[in-house]
């Protein structure tokens, strides 16, 4: 199912714990490192880099492939994709093969065939969104930066 509503993205994040990040980089200038570092240091998610060229990022072991990851940790809740849109079909196939529950295509990673294939295989699919931004939307991070979280509530956080 392609998740287009803000509440659907919130529910996906609420039921997920593990994130396998395909294309994670150790270069501080790369967007994928920004997201990786945020997930590792500021979120409760367990994030793992998937990158055949790296052994680790900031002390977190990297796996060469999603299959290698799954052999060690089982299926991830979310496969987060930082790759050229033209080369993401194999990532979708591998995600389906290991039984990943959701696939998240980051900003600009838009490939209609890949989206359709993941959707048809029953994965939850998020397209052209940043997982860091969406987590921050629901945990108050966006609000610190004057960004429109869309949240209206008279409830005190943490008392529900």
């Amino acid at each position: 199912m392609i998740l287009t509503e803000v509440t659907e993205r919130r529910a996906l994040l609420a039921r997920s714990t593990t994130i396998a990040m395909v294309g994670a980089s150790g270069d501080p200038l790369r967007p994928s490192y920004t997201v990786f570092s945020y997930l590792r240091t500021e979120s409760a998610f367990i994030v793992t880099p998937i990158n055949p060229k790296l052994d680790e990022i900031d002390g977190i072991r990297a796996f060469a492939s999603l299959a290698d990851y799954a052999r060690a940790h089982g299926a991830p809740d979310i496969v987060d994709v930082f790759r050229n849109p033209a080369s993401v079909l194999p990532v979708v196939d591998e995600s389906i093969a290991i039984g990943a529950k959701a696939i998240w295509f980051q900003y600009g990673v838009v490939n209609e065939a890949a989206i359709a294939r993941a959707d048809a295989a029953g994965l939850d699919v998020v397209v052209d969104r940043c997982i860091k931004v969406e987590i921050a939307r629901f945990t108050g991070g966006l609000a610190t930066a004057g960004l429109n979280s869309g949240i209206i509530s008279s409830r005190r956080a943490g008392t529900r």
Partner: protein
């Protein structure tokens, strides 16, 4: 958390201000603190590298200011907002975020005199060129676009003559030419018009006016729709490695948030034109009553405008809410709830009669501001537009006899009484001196 789409009046009160998570305070707390303690050295490094979320120093962000920013983003229908110390600081920041020495911008001829001065003199000194264009003449506008043009700036309701921007047409024009449409929404407020709904990319405003509503606080706001693609190559300040952030590429790292991030993390950080926490709090209080204030402003303005139009001592009234205004049709389309409460008229007897009229008023306040609960009056030719040449003044719709009103929230009968007695005095004096 619910998924309801709340209405405008609800968001004017609640957006950006859930109960304080620590104390449960229901009103927005004033976080009067210059700086904020880091959770750890690692967390501090994440913040400085723009990877984490949190407050560092109130020149860059502050919790009370962020509440105001989020509420404005919600009311304008934007992705996010950055507050500034004034409306002029806000619009300058937008230009600096998109343009540099050697670049060029387009600006409507029908804008606030302070904007004309800022763009044509201060920006010019910085090497950023500006061409003032008639926004009803697409051919003339097209002829003014250059390869280095970075934005088109217009006002929803032009100050002071009330020219209404045809936002959909201007957005299409801007996008066909590869540039964002920046709209100053000060005179309309998001209650009357939300330019983003008509294709605008960036909304700026002087928050001093209807947003504040009580004439207490100077502030400015920038709201970004997050829709414009700055990756076309035309905006290297956003799409190429930033010297201010060790080579970070804003469009690549922040996607739709690129403009807002650069506006805050580079422009606000380096220029230091931030809004203070206490001022943000006053603006939050103002926003809570924006919808009901605007209803009354508009109702009173319509009565005053019609009264003036029927008055024998008045030569003309220029209120876009009246059928006699050349942009009445545009106002009906873009400002269906009303055309605000700021407008101009010309008194019979010219500049001298206008001066006598203002001096005879007892309830209307003669000062340089608009959008106050109190009714205000000014003579633009000798004040707000006095730095302009005669040609610039005429292009902006200001005649020597023009008087500008900002109709407030008082009993309308009292406002009309004051106008009538002042017109009578202006008239009587003229008869005596003649």
């Amino acid at each position: 958390m619910n998924d309801r789409s709340f209405g405008f009046a609800t968001r004017a009160i609640h957006a950006g201000t859930p109960p304080d998570p620590v104390t449960g305070a229901r009103a927005a707390p004033i976080y009067q603190s210059s700086a904020f303690v880091f959770g750890s050295t690692e967390a501090a490094a994440e913040l400085f590298a723009l990877r984490g979320y949190g407050h560092i120093y109130s020149r860059i962000s502050n919790p009370t200011v962020a509440s105001f920013e989020e509420r404005m983003a919600s009311l304008e229908g934007g992705l996010g907002a950055v507050a500034f110390s004034s409306g002029l600081a806000a619009q300058l920041a937008v230009v600096l975020a998109l343009a540099r020495n050697g670049d060029h911008i387009l600006c409507s001829q029908n804008v606030y005199g302070g904007t004309v001065t800022q763009f044509s003199i201060t920006l010019d000194r910085m090497g950023i060129g500006v061409t003032f264009v008639p926004i009803g003449d697409l051919a003339a506008m097209r002829a003014a676009v250059r390869p280095e043009t970075k934005l088109l700036f217009v006002e929803t309701i032009g100050n002071p003559a009330g020219a209404i921007a045809d936002l959909e047409t201007l957005a299409r024009f801007a996008h066909e030419n590869g540039i964002p449409l920046v709209v100053d929404n000060t005179f309309a407020s998001p209650y009357c018009c939300r330019p983003i709904e008509f294709g605008a990319d960036i909304v700026v405003a002087s928050a001093t006016k209807f947003i504040c509503g009580h004439g207490t606080t100077v502030g400015g706001i920038v709201v970004d729709a997050g829709r414009f693609d700055y990756g076309s190559g035309r905006f290297p300040l956003l799409s190429e490695a930033s010297r201010g952030y060790h080579g970070k590429v804003f469009t690549e790292t922040f996607g739709e948030y690129a403009f807002l991030m650069r506006l805050r993390a580079e422009i606000l950080r380096d220029v230091g034109s931030q809004l203070g926490a206490h001022d943000a709090w006053l603006l939050l209080q103002g926003l809570e009553t924006l919808p009901i204030r605007m209803e009354r402003h508009i109702a009173n303005a319509a009565i005053v405008a019609r009264h003036l139009e029927a008055h024998p001592d008045i030569e003309w009234v220029s209120y876009p809410g009246l059928p006699s205004h050349p942009d009445f049709a545009l106002a009906t389309r873009y400002l269906p709830r009303g055309a605000g409460s700021v407008f101009t008229f010309g008194i019979r007897g010219g500049r001298e009669a206008g001066r006598r009229f203002i001096d005879a008023l007892e309830l209307w306040s003669h000062l340089a501001n608009v959008g106050d609960a109190k009714s205000l009056v000014i003579h633009p030719a000798s004040t707000t537009h006095s730095q302009l040449s005669d040609d610039e003044m005429r292009a902006a719709g200001v005649a020597p006899e023009t008087v500008r009103l900002s109709v407030g929230l008082e009993d309308c009968d009292d406002l009309l009484w004051d106008i009538d007695q002042a017109l009578e005095k202006a008239h009587a004096d003229r008869r005596v001196s003649a």
